[in-house]
C-alpha cells in the first residue's frame, strides 16, 4: 500500500491523510523511493531536495496531529521546473550560465505552495531558459519520455511532465510561453494547463518572453489540475501584469455536465501537417463530446498560420532583452578573461549559453534593431492583434475551442535537433493561445502505438471554469487518464 502512494492523485492522497491512514512523511518517502528507482532512466530532475521535502512533510504531520485543518495540497509532494526561484536552492534554468546560481528569494508561487504545505521533491529539467520543445536544449542532460525512453518528453517543461508521468512527483509546476506546459503534457500523457495571462503571478519565474510566460500545473487528472490552479492563482503586488482578484472556485466547476456547451473546432488545426493518426484520435474525442451533449461545430481562425512567425518574432525579441542581464557581473558564470569588460561579457555569454538560446537572442535582437523594428517586431505585434481578434470573435459563438495539442506523436531524441524550424513546427497548435493571452489545457484523448495523444481545449480570457468543466467531464467519460506509463 505504501509502495503505491506515488501513483495516487491529489484528492486520493488528501483523503488518506485526513483519515490518518497515511502520513505526509509516508507519501513523500514513497515518491522519493520512486525517484531512486527510476530517475536514472528518466532523468527528470536537475536537483533533488529530499531533506527539505521530508522536513515539510514532518511539519504537515505535526499540524495534522494537532487537529489543524489542512488544504488539499498539504503533504502532497511536487516538482518545480528549474526556472522558478527557490530561496537557498540552486535555480539553473538548465543553463551553464546559472549552473550555481542560488536565489536569495522565493517566487510567489513557491511561497504559496510552501504555505499550502506541499513538499518540493526537487527542481526539474527544462530546455535551457525554457527555449525549446523537447528538453534536448538542456545544457546538462536530456530527459526521457516515461512511455518510451528513446523519445523526448516534449518541452520546455519536459522534466516536470516526465516526473508526474513517471510517479516521481504527484504534481508539478511548469511554465508555458508557446506551449511549454501543454506539449510535454501531451507527450507524457498527463494534464497540463496554461492559465489566462495574468491569472498566476510571474514574480520569481525567470523571464523568457514577458508578455507570453505563464506558470501552470501538470497533474494526473483534471481535478488535481483545478486544485493546484486554485492554490497558485491570484493577485500579486509584486507583478504589475497580474490580474486583480478574486479567484473563482475552480473545483466547483467540475460538474461533469457538458450538455449545451458549444465547442468550436478550428479547421486550420486539423489541416495538413497533422499526423492523420493524431487527427483521427482527436476526431474520436470530438465524437464523444458530441455524444455527451456538447454542440460541436467546425469553425475557422483565419490567422492561425501566422502564429508561428508572430511568436518567433515576439518571444525572441523579449527574450533577447530579458537575457541581457546574464553577463557575469553580479551572479552566475563568468568566463576567465584578461581583456576588458566587453570581452568578458562576450566570452561569458558565449560560453554560458547554448546554441538555441544564442540563436533566439540574435533573432530577437535583429527583430528589434534599427531599420527592422517596424518590419518585424512592430508588424508581429499588429498581427498578434489580428490573431487575438480571431479568438474574440470565436468566443462570441463558442464556449471552448478544441484542437490537437501536437501535430505529431512524441518524436525521437535527436530527430529535430539539427533543424530549428522543424523543432519550432512542433508548437504550431499551441503558439496561438499565449499570443491571445487565453487559457488552454491539454489532456490525453487516446493512444497510438502505445503513445499518448493530447487534446487541447482553449477558452476565453478567465474562462478556466468552463475549460476545466469540459476537460473533466470528457476525461471521466473517456477514461484515458487511468492509463499510465509502465510501472506507474
Amino acid at each position: 500500500m505504501v509502495k503505491l502512494l506515488y501513483q495516487k492523485s491529489i484528492s486520493e492522497l488528501h483523503d488518506l491523510l485526513v483519515r490518518s491512514e497515511v502520513s505526509a512523511a509516508d507519501i513523500t518517502r514513497s515518491v522519493l523511493d520512486r525517484v531512486d528507482q527510476v530517475e536514472g532512466r528518466i532523468k527528470a530532475y536537475v536537483t533533488v531536495t529530499a531533506e527539505r521535502a521530508l522536513a515539510v512533510a514532518d511539519e504537515v504531520d505535526k499540524k495534522l496531529a494537532a487537529g489543524e485543518k489542512m488544504g488539499p495540497l498539504a503533504g502532497i509532494p511536487m516538482a518545480l521546473k528549474d526556472n522558478m526561484c527557490t530561496r537557498g536552492v540552486r535555480t539553473t534554468c538548465s543553463s551553464r550560465i546559472l549552473e550555481n546560481f542560488v536565489p536569495p528569494y522565493n517566487a510567489t508561487v513557491v511561497e504559496k505552495l510552501a504555505g499550502a504545505g506541499s513538499p518540493v521533491i526537487g527542481k526539474t529539467n527544462l530546455d535551457e531558459f525554457a527555449m525549446g520543445s523537447s528538453t534536448e536544449n538542456s545544457a546538462f542532460f536530456t530527459t526521457s519520455n516515461p512511455w518510451n525512453p528513446d523519445l523526448v518528453p516534449g518541452g520546455s517543461s519536459g522534466g516536470s511532465a516526465a516526473a508526474v508521468a513517471a510517479g516521481e512527483a504527484i504534481y508539478a509546476l511548469g511554465s508555458d510561453t508557446g506551449g511549454s506546459i501543454r506539449q510535454p503534457a501531451s507527450f507524457c500523457g498527463v494534464v497540463g494547463m496554461k492559465p489566462t495571462y495574468g491569472l498566476v503571478s510571474r514574480y520569481g519565474l525567470v523571464a523568457f518572453a514577458s508578455s507570453l510566460d505563464q506558470i501552470g500545473p501538470l497533474t494526473r487528472n483534471v481535478t488535481d489540475c483545478a486544485l493546484v490552479l486554485q492554490a497558485i492563482a491570484g493577485p500579486d503586488e509584486r507583478d504589475s501584469t497580474c490580474a486583480p482578484g478574486p479567484v473563482p472556485n475552480f473545483a466547483a466547476a467540475l460538474t461533469g455536465d457538458v450538455r449545451g456547451i458549444r465547442v468550436g473546432v478550428p479547421k486550420e488545426y486539423l489541416a495538413q501537417g497533422v499526423d492523420p493518426r493524431v487527427a483521427g484520435t482527436v476526431q474520436a474525442a470530438i465524437d464523444l463530446l458530441a455524444a455527451m451533449g456538447a454542440e460541436v461545430e467546425e469553425t475557422s481562425l483565419p490567422h492561425t498560420s501566422y502564429a508561428l512567425p508572430v511568436y518567433y518574432l515576439i518571444a525572441p525579441a523579449e527574450a533577447s532583452s530579458n537575457l541581457a542581464r546574464y553577463d557575469g557581473v553580479r551572479y552566475g558564470y563568468r568566463a576567465a578573461v584578461t581583456g576588458d569588460v566587453v570581452d568578458m561579457f562576450m566570452r561569458t555569454r558565449s560560453e554560458g549559453f547554448g546554441a538555441e538560446v544564442k540563436r533566439r537572442i540574435m533573432l530577437g535582437t535583429y527583430a528589434l534593431s534599427a531599420g527592422y523594428y517596424d518590419a518585424y517586431y512592430l508588424k508581429a505585434l499588429k498581427v498578434r492583434t489580428l490573431i487575438k481578434q480571431d479568438f474574440d470573435r470565436a468566443f462570441e459563438r463558442y464556449d471552448v475551442l478544441l484542437t490537437p495539442t501536437s501535430p505529431t506523436l512524441p518524436f525521437k531524441k535527436g530527430e529535430r535537433t539539427m533543424d530549428p524550424v522543424a523543432m519550432y513546427l512542433s508548437d504550431i497548435c499551441t503558439l496561438a493561445a499565449p499570443l491571445a493571452g487565453i487559457p488552454a489545457l491539454s489532456l490525453t484523448c487516446g493512444f497510438v502505438d502505445d503513445l499518448p495523444v493530447g487534446l487541447q481545449l482553449m477558452g476565453p480570457p478567465f474562462g478556466e471554469q468552463t475549460l476545466l468543466r469540459v476537460a473533466h467531464a470528457y476525461e471521466q467519460k473517456a477514461g484515458h487518464w487511468r492509463r499510465s506509463a509502465e510501472g506507474v
Binding site: M84, T91, P103, P104, G204, R238, S240, T241, R330, L368
Partner: protein
C-alpha cells in the same frame, strides 16, 4: 572673409527625485550608505524579478511637467532602452521613448536684461544606474568597482529645444530650471551631489543659417560654472575646427575641469542601437484630466509669480524680490518673518535688507543655507523688535546678529550676556554729554563758530564713552539741544 558663427545649444537635464523608495521597487533611496546595502532582488536585476511603478514618481512627473508649462500626456507608457554597461543591473534601462509623460513646455530666462523663452521638448521618467568606482581615471584603471545602491532611483529627464544661443543662456536656463525644480519640492537639485545632472548638445553654424550643424554631446559638467565654461570652450573649439576647414565629428566629449578642455570619449564600438520596445512587465498609464488638475492644484507658487507678488503687494523692488525668491527656502524664511512681525514699520523692506545684507553675508561665509543656519525667523524678528523698541541701536544689532549666528541664542539673551543694552535713558545720556562737552571745549567752540560737522565728533565721543551702547539718535538730538540751550548763555564771538 572669416565666417561668423552662431551657437546652438540644447540641454538634457536629469533630476533625481527625493522619493522615499526607488521607482520600481521598495528599496530606500537614502544616500551615502555602505555599497550594495540598499539593494533588493528587483533593483539588482536578479533572474525572475519584476518592476512595479512608484505612484509618487508619476505624480511628481506630472507636477514638474505642469510647472514647466508642458502638456501632460493622456496616454503614456514605459519602454526598454537596451544597452550593456556594468552599472546596469539588467543591461536595459526602463525609460520612456515615444509616449513620454509630458511634452511641449517652456521656461523663460533673462540674460543681460533680455528675456527669452526656451522650449522644452519633453519630460520623461526613467530609472538611474548604479555607480562605478575606478582607480584613477576610467581610461587608465585596470578594473572597476560597482555599487548598485543608486540603481533604480527615480529620475526625470528634461530635454530642451535647441533654443539656447550662448553658454550664458544655457547657464541661465539650467539655473532657472533648478530653481523651479526645488520650488516644486520633487528634488534637492544639487549638481555637486549628483541630484541634478546636465548634459549639453552643442553645435555651431554660419550666422543666419537655418540648418543645424553637427553636434557634440558634452558630459561631466558638475556645476553651473563648469557648464558655462565647458560650453564656451566647446563653441570655440568647434568654431576653430570649422575655421580651418575641418569637420565636426558627432561624438560624446567629457569636460575636464582641471585642464579646462573637452576631450573625446569616442568608444571603439559603433553608435548605440537602443532597440526600444514597450516594457512588457509594466502596464500603460492612462492619465485622466481630473488627476492632472488635482496635482496641478498642488503646485506651490513658482518663483516668477512669487517675486511679482513681492513687488506688487509688498512694495519691494524687482531686484530685491528677485534675490529673495532665488531660493525657495529664503523666500519661505522671509515670509515667516513677516508673519511673525506683521506690525513692524516698513517691515518688508526692513526684513529684506537684513536678509540680503548681514544675514546673507554670514550664511555665505559659512557656506550654509538659511534653513540650516541657527538664526530662525523667530530669532531674527526678535532682534528686529528690540531695534524698533529702541533697546539696541542698528549698529549694535549687527554685532548681536553675529553672536546670535554663532551661538544660536536669542537676541535678548545675547544683549543681556554682553551688556549690550542700548542706553536710551535721557538722564544717563545727558551726564555723558555734559562730560564730553566739558572735555572738548575747542570742538564746542568750532561748532559755535559754524562748523556743524563738529557735532559728529562729539557724538562719536559720547558713543566711545558709552562703549557704543548709547542710542545714537538720542545722543544726536540731546547733544544739539544741549548745545543750543548752552549757546544761549555764552557770548557770540
Amino acid at each position: 572673409m572669416a565666417t561668423e558663427y552662431e551657437t546652438v545649444i540644447g540641454l538634457e537635464v536629469h533630476v533625481e527625485l527625493k522619493t522615499k523608495s526607488k521607482v520600481f521597487c521598495h528599496s530606500t533611496t537614502e544616500f551615502g550608505a555602505d555599497p550594495n546595502s540598499h539593494v533588493c532582488p528587483v533593483c539588482l536585476g536578479l533572474p525572475g524579478v519584476l518592476p512595479v511603478v512608484n505612484r509618487q514618481v508619476v505624480e511628481w512627473a506630472i507636477l514638474l511637467g505642469s510647472a514647466l508649462n508642458c502638456e501632460i500626456a493622456s496616454f503614456s507608457k514605459f519602454d526598454r532602452k537596451n544597452y550593456y554597461y556594468p552599472d546596469m543591473p539588467k543591461n536595459y534601462q526602463i525609460s520612456q521613448y515615444d509616449l513620454p509623460i509630458a511634452l511641449g513646455g517652456y521656461l523663460d530666462i533673462e540674460v543681460d536684461g533680455v528675456k527669452k523663452r526656451i522650449g522644452i521638448t519633453r519630460l520623461h521618467m526613467e530609472e538611474d544606474t548604479g555607480k562605478l568606482v575606478h582607480q584613477g581615471t576610467i581610461t587608465t584603471t585596470p578594473y572597476s568597482l560597482v555599487d548598485y545602491n543608486r540603481a533604480g532611483v527615480p529620475l526625470l529627464e528634461i530635454v530642451s529645444e535647441p533654443d539656447l544661443s550662448s553658454p550664458a543662456e544655457a547657464r541661465a536656463y539650467a539655473e532657472k530650471l533648478r530653481q523651479i525644480i526645488v520650488y516644486t519640492g520633487v528634488s534637492d537639485g544639487k549638481m555637486e551631489e549628483g541630484s541634478l545632472r546636465c548634459d549639453a548638445n552643442v553645435s555651431v553654424r554660419p550666422r543666419g543659417s537655418t540648418q543645424l550643424g553637427t553636434k557634440a554631446e558634452i558630459k561631466n559638467m558638475n556645476s553651473f560654472r563648469a557648464l558655462q565654461r565647458a560650453l564656451a570652450y566647446e563653441v570655440e573649439r568647434q568654431t576653430g575646427v570649422l575655421g580651418e576647414g575641418g569637420r565636426i565629428v558627432q561624438e560624446t566629449r567629457t569636460w575636464d575641469e582641471g585642464q579646462g578642455v573637452t576631450l573625446s570619449l569616442r568608444s571603439k564600438e559603433e553608435a548605440h542601437d537602443y532597440r526600444y520596445f514597450p516594457e512588457p512587465d509594466l502596464v500603460p498609464l492612462v492619465i485622466d484630466p481630473a488627476w492632472v488638475q488635482e496635482i496641478r492644484s498642488r503646485l506651490p507658487e513658482l518663483p516668477e509669480a512669487r517675486a511679482a507678488r513681492y513687488v506688487e503687494k509688498l512694495g519691494l523692488s524687482a531686484y530685491d524680490a528677485g534675490v529673495l525668491t532665488a531660493e525657495k527656502s529664503l523666500a519661505d524664511y522671509f515670509e515667516a518673518c513677516l508673519a511673525l512681525y506683521p506690525e513692524a514699520k516698513g517691515v518688508a523692506k526692513g526684513v529684506a535688507n537684513w536678509l540680503m545684507g548681514d544675514l546673507a553675508r554670514l550664511l555665505n561665509a559659512a557656506g550654509v543655507s538659511v534653513e540650516e543656519g541657527r538664526v530662525t525667523p523667530e530669532r531674527l524678528t526678535g532682534l528686529l523688535r528690540l531695534i524698533d523698541q529702541g533697546d539696541i541701536s542698528g549698529k549694535m544689532a549687527k554685532e548681536v546678529l553675529e553672536v546670535m549666528y554663532v551661538s544660536g541664542l536669542d537676541a535678548a539673551q545675547v544683549i543681556k550676556e554682553r551688556g549690550l543694552s542700548q542706553i536710551s535713558d535721557e538722564g544717563a545720556l545727558l551726564d555723558v554729554i555734559r562730560a564730553v562737552l566739558t572735555e572738548n571745549e575747542k570742538v564746542v567752540a568750532d561748532f559755535r563758530a559754524g562748523k556743524d560737522k563738529a557735532v559728529g565728533f562729539l557724538v562719536g565721543q559720547v558713543m566711545k564713552k558709552t562703549r557704543g551702547q548709547a542710542n545714537p539718535d538720542a545722543v544726536n538730538r540731546l547733544l544739539r539741544e544741549t548745545l543750543q540751550s548752552d549757546q544761549g548763555s555764552t557770548t557770540h564771538q
